[in-house]
Symmetry: C2
Subunit: 334 residues, 2 copies
């Protein structure tokens, strides 16, 4: 039904090839021929079929965003949205489309990510919000599909990554609490399957050591990034360590749980207990007391990931590992 290149060729009285060349900016076309073709194409409202082009060029100019747990309610959403924006905006600038690929749906649990990507002939993928132990994701990465992973340090021939410098971020948090006079500083971490958890823990321990504080295992609690988990972590740490005056949470949502617990047991924040989160989700400005936290550059993570992937695709650049510096945002909870 739509007007094809053939229609334009006929109307302009030239061959299909010439139309193709004229419209794609090739130099070897007569100036007036080109003008005529352009005029006719415009008059006919010709829209070249990206599908047909993809078939012959063997490139779809489309990249997939692989996300797991893209469900109604999930603790990682706050973070992922920001990244999504960055990815989308930059990809659009670079002339790439973005299709969402999630694994939450019944249908997609049957077909692997890899099948999906291959069938759609995606040029590359950006992976986000996926646990390191996800069986399907490994398949994609092993397949040599050009990819960039958010928040997991995986580097190979065709796979780069971008993440926040979590070690540094955790150090910022601990140093801040130390500077505020705290000496018994707890740490509530996220689940072990997240690479960021390892790094944040590492940063916590290193910073504690730097500050000359002994690291007691009882000062740490492994949770799951949820608010409920944060409450539990806060409760446990305070019970085990009555002298604890500050806790660093590996996510804002967990810190919210911490604030809630403190309130429940009548502890004043920040005077009785100081709290630092991680992420700087929007919520953290709004709660009372507002939450001091480590800000991650979400949007920038997205643009960097998009740039890296397209660089690999269009310019054959090598994938790399990029660390973005986080920042401490001091608010009322410390």
């Amino acid at each position: 039904m739509p007007v094809t290149i053939r229609d334009v060729a006929r109307a302009a009285g030239v061959s299909i090839t010439t139309v193709s060349r004229a419209l794609n900016g090739y130099e070897d076309v007569g100036a007036d021929t080109r003008r005529k073709v352009e005029r006719v194409a415009a008059e006919l409202k010709y829209r070249p079929s990206a599908i047909a082009r993809s078939l012959v060029m063997n490139r779809t100019k489309t990249i997939g965003l692989l996300v797991s747990e893209l469900t109604k309610e999930h603790s990682g959403h706050h973070f992922m949205f920001g990244v999504l924006y960055g990815i989308h905006d930059r990809l659009a600038e670079l002339g790439y489309d973005l299709v969402l690929v999630s694994t939450t749906t019944a249908r997609q649990r049957l077909v692997s990510y890899l099948t999906f990507c291959t069938e759609r002939r995606l040029d590359g993928v950006i992976v986000m919000g996926i646990r390191m132990d996800d069986p399907y994701i490994q398949e994609v990465l092993d397949s040599g599909f050009p990819s960039v992973v958010i928040d997991v340090p995986l580097l190979s021939e065709r796979c780069g990554y971008v993440m926040t410098d979590n070690v540094f971020g955790a150090k910022l948090a601990v140093r801040h609490l130390f500077a505020k006079g705290h000496r018994v500083i707890g740490f509530v971490n996220g689940h072990v399957q997240a690479a960021v958890s390892r790094e944040r823990r590492c940063g916590y321990e290193e910073a504690m050591a730097e500050c000359g504080l002994v690291g007691d295992p009882d000062w740490q609690f492994v949770s799951d990034f949820t608010e409920r988990g944060g409450m539990e972590g806060c409760k446990t740490l305070l019970e085990k360590n009555p002298d604890m005056t500050a806790i660093f949470f590996a996510s804002d949502l967990m810190a919210m749980g911490g604030l809630r617990h403190a309130q429940a047991v009548g502890l004043k924040v920040p005077s009785d207990l100081s709290v630092v989160g991680f992420d700087d989700i929007e919520l953290s400005q709004y709660v009372t007391p507002s939450l001091s936290t480590i800000h991650q550059k979400r949007y920038e993570m997205g643009t960097v990931a998009a740039d890296m992937l397209v660089g690999m695709l269009d310019q054959g650049k090598a994938p790399e590992g990029r660390l973005l510096s986080p920042q401490l945002f001091e608010r009322q909870s410390t």
Copy 2:
């Protein structure tokens, strides 16, 4: 490079046609032929090219999500994410892909939505977060592109819509405040370009009349859905009407601004001033005092929109207008 249907045919010792039929579940294929083809296809890890199929079938099984203002910071995000999830999940179940189409980027400001949709040969579009007066969007809707619009009541041959029953929602809010004993109830609305604003205003005025309250124009303020705008609206209304004891805001974010202003001028919520929002964004549970609000079924709006569009596409169903009932969530601010 990837294995094609021809490779499978050769390896199975049958024709391309037979492979196609066997793999696509046609009946007129010998039982053992089918088994053999399936086995060979699996062994070779054959992945049919969605691109090639699209070209010949003239259908991409891809729908576009048109969003404007998909920027780093925007007041509508909270709402749009929920809808996005619903759309994506349902579309995946139905075998459709979702590509994001936004207009924020430099490149896309040059090409209209319509051009984009046509070139990608999208099967349909879902439109969300777009002002009614957006010049480009009209182009898409006029073009007869199968579409479903979120939050704007546009109904035509190829265009349906889904939105919350905003009139009813606003009434819920006003009735609730009335039931709490308030008689001077203000209303801070969003910008006029949003269809929902008209409806919420309508619901406010009708409910006021139902309650036997005279509607003073000074009780209303037209703002812009932002927190800052909400602050301003709250301030203005209270200055003009010192006896005002309750305000209904057309969005939670504006209500946040209201809460902030109240706090700034030393008004206690809810005793001095009661506040009701609209949307039930996540924030509203976390602020202190937590915000009473009109809950919108965001995820469901997405699934309904996806169902409607695919119904039009796959079953030739007629587009329709669907209203979803909101709910009052009573919290501490009233």
